[in-house]
Symmetry: C2
Subunit: 309 residues, 2 copies
């Protein structure tokens, strides 16, 4: 592949993403406007990849150990004569938050590099490169964060027979996120899940998924509300998140449509159909965590409707 180096330096804001969206394990995800990472990338005279983190989270700067480096290397492997890259990453999406931190690093880096090079790679290829970063982070090359991170909005991922991303229509929604400052590793959160489930439980779950997808597509707020349930993962995974039940119950009491664990947690998110409701939900969730003594951060945001490039 011949490269057309169009820009010397690119800065991108890379959105946090909420994988699963309660019932859509491994198939649904959404991008939000906050929090976001800042990624700067430029061509370097030095060959290979140099990564510098300007955030305080102590992530490895060795490109072989950093998901951004792994993803970019996968991209460079497709070039005949790859240039050197120098990357500066400032993470606001905390590692291990459940908000797609590794996905943002991986996808954001390859997306920024692709712009820098004049967009030689397709969206599908960028997803594949970024998934290599995800594989390095969690052992699974999943697309449920990198897909919404790239496409924006709400994405539906189908993997059979080949990976395909579809975006879904959706109504205006407000998103409240509470991120407890504890770490839950995706790999641990996956371990807690049983490998077999009751058929009747699976049927309930796919009723919720079908309802949620239809609710988004039809912009039917009541259908979204009744479909935001997870009978397969939440009962086990929520045990890893302090005060989960109280948070959810308070949010729904304050008229959130529903919500649950973001990705594999520990961040918890709630969807609301009005700003005033979302403000109230944020306040209630805030109160519970303030009392708990656990460090936390909340965001009141919206779905990021635009693609990254």
């Amino acid at each position: 592949m011949k490269l057309n180096i169009e820009n010397e330096e690119i800065s991108l804001k890379i959105p946090a993403t909420i994988a699963n969206i309660v019932c859509g394990f491994d198939i649904l995800g959404m991008a939000v406007n906050e929090p976001f990472d800042d990624i700067k990338i430029k061509i370097s005279e030095k060959p290979g990849i140099q990564i510098k983190h300007t955030d305080p989270y102590g992530l490895p700067e060795d490109p072989k150990k950093n998901v951004a480096g792994v993803a970019l290397q996968a991209m460079m492997n497709e070039m005949d004569e790859p240039p050197g890259f120098s990357i500066s990453i400032h993470k606001n999406i905390l590692p291990g938050s459940g908000l797609g931190s590794s996905g943002a690093s991986a996808l954001g880096t390859v997306a920024a590099a692709n712009i820098l090079l004049g967009k030689p790679f397709s969206h599908e290829q960028l997803i594949r490169f970024a998934m290599e970063g995800e594989r390095a982070a969690s052992g699974t090359a999943h697309a449920d964060n990198v897909a919404p991170c790239l496409y924006g909005g709400i994405t539906l991922i189908s993997s059979e027979p080949a990976l395909q991303i579809n975006t879904l229509p959706y109504p205006e929604l407000f998103v409240v996120i509470l991120h407890p400052q504890i770490e839950v590793k995706t790999s641990d959160s996956r371990k807690i899940i049983k490998k077999e489930i009751q058929l009747k439980t699976a049927v309930r779950q796919w009723g919720y998924i079908a309802g949620l997808v239809a609710g988004f597509c039809k912009k039917d707020i009541e259908l979204i509300r009744r479909s935001l349930n997870d009978v397969v993962f939440e009962p086990a995974r929520s045990l890893l998140i302090p005060k989960f039940k109280e948070l959810k119950s308070a949010a729904i009491g304050a008229e959130a449509l529903g919500g649950g664990i973001s990705g594999s947690g520990p961040a918890v998110f709630m969807l609301c159909d009005q700003m005033s409701v979302a403000e109230n939900v944020e306040e209630k969730m805030n109160e519970i965590y303030t009392k708990s003594g656990i460090d936390f951060k909340t965001y009141l945001t919206t779905i990021k409707s635009t693609p990254l490039l």
Copy 2:
């Protein structure tokens, strides 16, 4: 409830229905324009229910043993002074075909009676009454045939926390049905299904369901095509249907979008996006069954877009 007897006799054409639509076990269904039953109902001076079948299928005319009678009795139990009803049913939807035969008898009868009485009952109530007929027929009070039979089009059934029916948008589709004239009882077809499934299989299935629902809503033919797969039920249930694999493979070879078992079978249906494709698919399926020596009937029809009342 006071009754307002508006009409002396009502005739209705009651559509066949395709439950599950490949991957949407227990949650999806569609109504088709062919075949259909003819139901006539009138108020009788004689109290109670009299049922007469003008078809040759030997169904019981004792209202306690006929799903139409069971459903109508459930409706009459909600009236203070129910009148007598005389019902004449001519079935073209064969019992045990997988095309919603019992659902058509049950729903058609209560829908016709409701019109006759000036529509005192809501759609939700009619569904409940008809589900009592389904319970009598198969042991399970399921709504996946009676819902599309009443609402028309493609319906999504959610059962939690309470039964709710939503209709989905969909693109123009042509439906080819092949009904082998062998009987597969719903109860037998349910027995063949395992009670536990692998989580990874469930995740694949809900990917298909989410894709199919999104495909219908977005009128995205290619998404429908790739989502018409069933990795949970079809592998077992298709064993009860002679030549199933050949039928499906020939239909897809002739550019059907996909398809599978209608309800619990033995009818098999295929969806096509063009009339010319559907004609070709019908011919290919016809050839296979003509060679097999098994009696069969085919239909080339469309989705019935209008509600029953």
